[in-house]
């Protein structure tokens, strides 16, 4: 195999330049228009077999098309002495004189430049491209010849965290974040280019940099527990409401941490919004932000008004819903997307999600102004997932804070290792296609992994609301679970994880779009 073409290709290029390649490439390999595709569908068959067969090649001299498998393109090549042909599937050039594919930088460049056009033409958003190191990366690889391979049984990435005085609420969230696969890939690829020193006055420390540092610590190979005092200090100075040596709520900490990370990611852009997730392109929003659709249907005129809000987590009610809890607001900063219709006790995550997405009747005490009737009307409200986040975080509302009393709901709620979010999506709500088609599509969807998630971390709270302790289960590799109890890391069986009470459940999307 030659990387520098061959004498036959050189000869052809000398006579005709790259034009023959370009023409064949644009007609048979990438078809930008429907017209071109129709032509390809009709003409692109082996001239001998009269069929579309695998590995068709088009002659570069006369555009004769023949199959490789039965040797019809070979026959043509030798008979006519047209030695060069292009594989119509991949656009690579075969030389029948040299009896091998030939690689030519110039032609490869033409092919590379036209691939995105093909993708756009048929509605492929982004195609997978293999990583190619740039000059700087090649240099780095050369200078650091030692490679570390993460083996299947490797425990690298597992490290305990010292409790600095009731800081288990922080430790368990750090463990969950450290074991978030996409976040790990981001930090281990050294993607955070920090500009924060110039932008945050008084506070020249960046939480993203600190998290990046913690990733380095976890993957350094050191086994001794890490002491997260810098992180704690940073959290105390940045999120005052979490300061002090008291036990804090792990969910509240998670939201505060995501918000701070998001703010510090965005600090260079000048327009920092805080308080809620939004349409922002920072790594935190790329991973955690989903879109929650709310449809309010007027009972009078059936007019539906739809809004979509970005969310970082889904807070799910437990216990029987009393009418009084309707429209309750979570105390935390920027979650509190909850919905409480139904009056049965959910006993599984699926139950909770069904309840969450069930149409809720807003009674006469909660009339909403209808834009159609121009008056206040009773309505029903339904929440569904418009856009799924890469990491779905479910918060089981085990702590009830009502006036006069605080209590913990310890009901058993089962949760699956694999979760399909399809039934809870807005598209399922709107599904009103033709019946037969819908059935087929549903079958396709249930098979497809598009909306499927895998459990990768579970935060648990033990004890009472006043005196409790947080621990976290994390998944390594595909199916190995570990329990992180501050500085202690122990192996756990999957069943143990699934049987645990569950306070925060972290699910990771099985399939990511390349966008």
């Amino acid at each position: 195999m030659s990387c520098n073409g061959c004498q036959h290709l050189d000869e052809l290029k000398k006579q005709h330049g790259t034009e023959p390649y370009k023409i064949i490439y644009s007609h048979f390999i990438v078809c930008k228009s429907a017209d071109a595709r129709r032509r390809k569908a009709n003409q692109c068959i082996c001239y001998v077999c009269r069929l579309y067969t695998p590995r068709l090649h088009a002659c570069m001299s006369c555009v004769y098309i023949g199959c490789y498998g039965r040797g019809h393109i070979h026959e043509h090549a030798y008979k006519k002495e047209h030695y060069l042909a292009i594989d119509v599937c991949y656009g690579v050039v075969h030389c029948f004189a040299c009896q091998d594919y030939v690689y030519d930088k110039e032609l490869e460049e033409i092919a590379r430049a036209s691939t995105p056009k093909l993708a756009l033409g048929v509605g492929i958003k982004m195609t997978f491209l293999e990583w190619e190191p740039n000059d700087q990366e090649i240099d780095l690889l050369r200078r650091n010849a030692k490679r570390r391979r993460v083996e299947e049984r490797s425990t690298i990435g597992l490290r305990g965290l010292i409790n600095l005085g009731n800081t288990c609420f922080m430790n368990c969230i750090v463990q969950a974040l450290i074991h978030t696969p996409v976040l790990r890939d981001y930090f281990l690829a050294d993607k955070h280019n920090c500009n924060i020193h110039m932008n945050l006055n008084n506070n020249n420390q960046c939480l993203v940099c600190e998290l990046s540092q913690i990733f380095q610590e976890f993957y350094s190979g050191i086994q001794a527990p890490h002491i997260p005092y810098r992180l704690l200090h940073l959290v105390w100075t940045s999120a005052r409401h979490l300061a002090g040596y008291e036990q804090q709520d792990a969910h509240e900490f998670l939201i505060a941490a995501l918000d701070l990370l998001h703010q510090h990611c965005q600090a260079t852009n000048g327009n920092v919004e805080s308080g809620r997730p939004h349409h922002c392109n920072c790594i935190i929003d790329q991973i955690f932000t989903g879109g929650l659709q709310s449809d309010v249907t007027c009972k009078q005129c059936n007019n539906v008004s739809t809004t979509i809000d970005p969310i970082w987590d889904v807070s799910l009610d437990l216990g029987p819903a009393s009418p009084a809890t309707n429209g309750s607001h979570s105390s935390s900063l920027c979650s509190g997307y909850s919905n409480s219709p139904g009056n049965y006790d959910p006993t599984s995550l699926i139950d909770c999600l069904k309840r969450f997405t069930k149409p809720e009747h807003l009674g006469s005490s909660a009339k909403i102004k209808c834009s159609c009737c121009h008056s206040y009307q009773e309505s029903t409200k339904q929440l569904t997932m418009k856009k799924l986040p890469i990491v779905a975080c479910f918060h089981l509302k085990r702590f009830e804070h009502s006036t006069g009393y605080h209590k913990k709901i310890a009901t058993y709620v089962s949760f699956p290792e694999e979760l399909d979010m399809t039934p809870f999506m807005s598209s399922s709500r709107n599904n009103n296609n033709g019946y037969s088609l819908q059935v087929v599509q549903e079958a396709a969807r249930s098979l497809s992994c598009e909306n499927k998630y895998s459990l990768f971390a579970v935060v648990n709270h033990s004890g009472t609301i006043e005196c409790g302790h947080y621990t976290c289960y994390v998944r390594q590799h595909k199916d190995q679970w570990f329990k992180c109890d501050d500085h202690l890391i122990t192996k756990a069986m999957p069943q143990e994880v699934l049987n645990s009470e569950g306070y925060l459940l972290f699910y990771h999307k099985q399939i990511l779009e390349y966008s």
């Binding site: 429907a34 569908a41 069929l51 033409g121 048929v122 492929i124 037969s436 088609l437 098979l447 390349y514």
Partner: protein, 102 residues
């Protein structure tokens, strides 16, 4: 005998027709891209690449041709495609055909 012959011809015609539809609509490219993505995701590509490297090393870079590689790799490549990937693709094709005949 005639029946079998006839069926073979019918099958071939059907296949040609389906293929034409797939190409015309661009679905073929989308399927190809989906397949490529799935094969990358499940590690098939890496596995096969590794195997190719071994074969090349064994035979020597100077002596091996693409034909050699293709005949060495194809059976293994086919066998390694996970069942759920095949199922997903089959279902996608079914859906496509159902849409086309609507």
């Amino acid at each position: 005998m005639a029946d079998i012959q006839e069926r073979k011809i019918k099958d071939a015609q059907m296949r040609a027709q389906i293929n034409q539809k797939l190409v015309e609509t661009g679905e073929r490219e989308r399927l190809k891209e989906l397949l490529r993505t799935r094969l990358v995701e499940c590690g098939w590509r890496d596995q096969l690449k590794q195997y190719c490297k071994e074969v090349v090393k064994q035979k020597g870079l100077e002596h091996i041709t693409v034909d050699d590689l293709v005949s060495e790799i194809t059976p293994k490549g086919r066998a390694l495609v996970p069942d759920n990937v095949k199922k997903e693709l089959l279902q996608r094709i079914r859906t496509f055909l159902a849409q086309q005949s609507n």
